[in-house]
C-alpha cells in the first residue's frame, strides 16, 4: 500500500492524510466545487475535483471516485466516516477494481448494516440485548400483540436506518398505530425502504461503546470503551473515555465477551460495538459500526494508540501483534466536544462564511477540523465544523480544560452549539458522571423555560 485515495472531506480527510504522511504513504484527496478552498487539500500529495457541491454528485458518486482511483493509480481507498463508509456497493466496487478497501468487506456491511439481521446474528452468539421483534408488516392486530408482549414503552426503529433518524417511541396501545404510520413515512423518505421493527425502550440509558481493532488473521483486541451519552436528536455531542461511574471489572468483562463474539464471527477490521447501559439492565447491544468513528480521538488520547495509523497498517496486511503489541492501561481522562454549525437553542443548521475561525491552542487540547477562516460551511454537508478534545489526569480536570478551550474558540460568521456544550459541561449531573441520553434535552429545556416566562 503506497498511494491511497481519501474518499471524504473535512476533519476526517485531514486526519487520514496526516496518518498517511506519517506512515510514508502518498495521499490523493478529492473535493467538490464547494470545497475547493479547504485548507487540508494542500496537505495531500494530490488533489482531484470530483464534481459539484451536492454530495450525491461528488462524495457519494461511486463511478467518479473509481475513475479517479484508476487515473491516479492508487492501490487503496479510505472512506472515512459517513458518506460511502458503510456502503456495500462501494466496498464491492473498490474490491472489484482490485484495490484495498480500508474498511469493512461488503459481507460485514450487509450482515451488520441491517438492524434485525445483525441482532439475530449477535443474539445467537450470546450478545446481551433487550427484547425486540422481527421486521413487522404493520398490521394493526399484529402490532398491538407484539408491542404488548414486549411491554411498553417500545421504540419503533427502521431496520435499514442509521444516525438516529426515524426512531419513534410508543407509550401504549393508544399511540402505537399512529406512531408506526409516522415512522414508516419517515423511514421511506430517509432510507427508501419502510422496514420497521419494535424494540423494548430503555428509559434514560447511557450510550457506551467499545473500540476494537482486528486483523485478517483472526486476532481481535479491545481498546476500552467510550461514553457518548450526551446527544441531541440522537446525535452525539460530547464523548469521553473511560466511561465514568461504571465498575471497571464490569466494563472489562463486557469487552472480553465482545472480543470473543467478534473473534467467533471472524471479524477482521476496525469496529465499534455500540451498547446501551442502565444500572438495572446492564449492557444491551445496539449496533456494530464497521468504520472509524467520529469520536476515535478520545480513545487515542487515553491509550496513546494512533487508531488511524493502526487501521491503515492492518488494512495493508500487517498483523495485530506487530501493530499493537499490548493494550496500554488507559491514562487519565479525555473528553471531546463536537462543534456544530447550528443554533445553540433550536439546533437549527447555521451554514455560512467563517469570517473568523481561531481554534484554541493549549497544552492537553487537540483540535480536529477541516476548516479555516475564509471557508464557507456549506449547507450541502453535515454541520460538524470541529472536534475539540481535552485530556487531563482526571475527569474533572479534562472537563475544566475543555471549558477553557471552548471559551477561547473564536468563531464568527456562523452560529455554533458551543453555548449549549458549555451548559452541559457546567451541569451538576454531567459533572457528577450522571450522564444519560436524556440529559442534554433536559439541560436545554431547563435553560429555555425562564426565557419563555419572561
Amino acid at each position: 500500500m503506497k498511494r491511497v485515495l481519501v474518499a471524504n472531506r473535512g476533519a476526517v480527510a485531514r486526519r487520514v492524510i496526516r496518518a498517511l504522511r506519517a506512515l510514508g504513504m502518498e495521499s490523493v484527496a478529492v473535493y467538490s466545487e464547494a470545497d475547493a478552498a479547504m485548507p487540508y487539500l494542500q496537505e495531500a500529495d494530490h488533489q482531484c475535483l470530483i464534481g459539484p457541491a451536492a454530495a450525491i454528485d461528488s462524495y457519494l458518486n461511486i463511478e467518479t471516485l473509481l475513475r479517479v482511483a484508476r487515473e491516479q493509480a492508487v492501490d487503496a481507498v479510505h472512506p472515512g466516516y459517513g458518506f460511502l463508509s458503510e456502503n456495500a456497493d462501494f466496498a464491492q466496487a473498490v474490491e472489484d477494481a482490485g484495490l484495498i478497501f480500508i474498511g469493512p468487506s461488503p459481507r460485514w456491511i450487509r450482515l451488520l448494516g441491517h438492524k434485525t439481521q445483525a441482532r439475530e446474528t449477535m443474539r445467537a452468539l450470546g450478545m446481551p440485548m433487550v427484547a425486540s421483534s422481527a421486521v413487522l408488516e404493520g398490521d394493526a392486530q399484529e402490532l398491538q400483540r407484539v408491542a404488548s408482549a414486549l411491554g411498553y414503552p417500545v421504540l419503533i426503529k427502521p431496520a435499514a436506518g442509521g444516525g438516529g433518524i426515524g426512531m419513534l417511541p410508543a407509550t401504549g396501545p393508544h399511540d402505537i398505530e399512529t406512531q408506526w404510520a409516522r415512522a414508516r413515512d419517515m423511514a421511506h423518505r430517509s432510507f427508501g425502504r419502510a422496514d420497521l421493527y419494535l424494540e423494548k425502550l430503555l428509559e434514560e440509558p447511557r450510550h457506551v461503546e467499545f473500540q476494537f481493532l482486528a486483523d485478517r488473521y483472526g486476532n481481535v483486541r479491545c481498546l476500552y470503551e467510550r461514553d457518548c451519552s450526551t446527544q441531541r436528536r440522537h446525535q452525539k455531542v460530547i464523548e469521553e473515555a473511560p466511561a465514568p461511574g461504571i465498575d471497571r471489572a464490569a466494563l472489562d468483562a463486557m469487552s472480553t465477551q465482545l472480543q470473543t463474539i467478534l473473534g467467533g464471527l471472524g471479524y477482521d477490521v476496525i469496529g465499534t460495538v455500540e451498547m446501551l447501559y442502565t444500572p438495572d439492565t446492564g449492557f444491551s447491544f445496539l449496533e456494530v459500526n464497521t468504520r472509524l468513528q467520529v469520536e476515535h480521538a478520545v480513545t487515542e488520547q487515553v491509550t496513546g494508540v494512533d487508531i488511524v495509523a493502526a487501521q491503515l497498517r492492518l488494512a495493508a496486511g500487517e498483523r495485530l501483534d506487530a501493530v499493537l503489541d499490548s493494550v496500554p492501561a488507559p491514562l487519565g481522562h479525555a473528553v471531546q466536544a463536537r462543534v456544530y454549525a447550528e443554533d445553540p437553542v433550536r439546533f437549527f443548521p447555521s451554514p455560512g462564511m467563517l469570517k473568523r475561525f481561531e481554534p484554541p491552542a493549549m497544552s492537553g487540547v487537540r483540535v480536529e477540523t477541516g476548516y479555516a477562516a475564509g471557508c464557507r460551511v456549506s449547507s450541502h454537508y453535515d454541520p460538524l465544523v470541529a472536534k475539540v478534545i481535552a485530556h487531563a489526569a482526571t475527569r474533572a480536570g479534562a472537563i475544566d480544560l475543555l471549558e477553557r478551550a471552548l471559551s477561547e474558540f473564536r468563531i464568527e460568521g456562523i452560529k455554533t452549539n458551543i453555548p449549549f456544550v458549555m451548559q452541559v459541561l457546567a451541569d451538576a449531573d454531567f459533572r457528577a458522571g450522571r450522564v444519560s441520553t436524556g440529559m442534554a434535552s433536559r439541560v436545554v429545556t431547563a435553560t429555555r423555560e425562564p426565557a419563555q416566562i419572561s
Binding site: A54, P349, S350, G352, S379, H380, Y381, D382, P383
Partner: protein
C-alpha cells in the same frame, strides 16, 4: 401581501402548496434540506398563496423569499 422566507440556506425538498391555495397559520408550506436535516417552513399567518417563487431542487439562501401570501 406578505413574503414567506426560509430561515436557513439549503435545497428545496418540497413545496406543498400551489398558487390559489388557502393556508392557515402554522401550516407547513415547504421543506428545506440543510446540513443533512429536513426542516419544515411554516406559514406565519393565514392567507392565499399569490405566487410561488421556488421549485423543488432549487438552492436557496437564508432569508430568500419562497412564496407570497395575499
Amino acid at each position: 401581501m406578505s413574503k414567506l422566507e426560509t430561515p436557513v440556506a439549503g435545497r428545496v425538498l418540497s413545496v406543498t402548496v400551489a398558487v390559489g391555495a388557502r393556508v392557515a397559520e402554522g401550516d407547513t408550506i415547504a421543506t428545506i434540506e440543510s446540513m443533512k436535516m429536513e426542516l419544515p417552513v411554516e406559514a406565519e399567518r393565514a392567507g392565499t398563496v399569490a405566487q410561488v417563487l421556488v421549485a423543488v431542487g432549487d438552492e436557496v439562501d437564508e432569508g430568500q423569499v419562497l412564496l407570497e401570501l395575499a
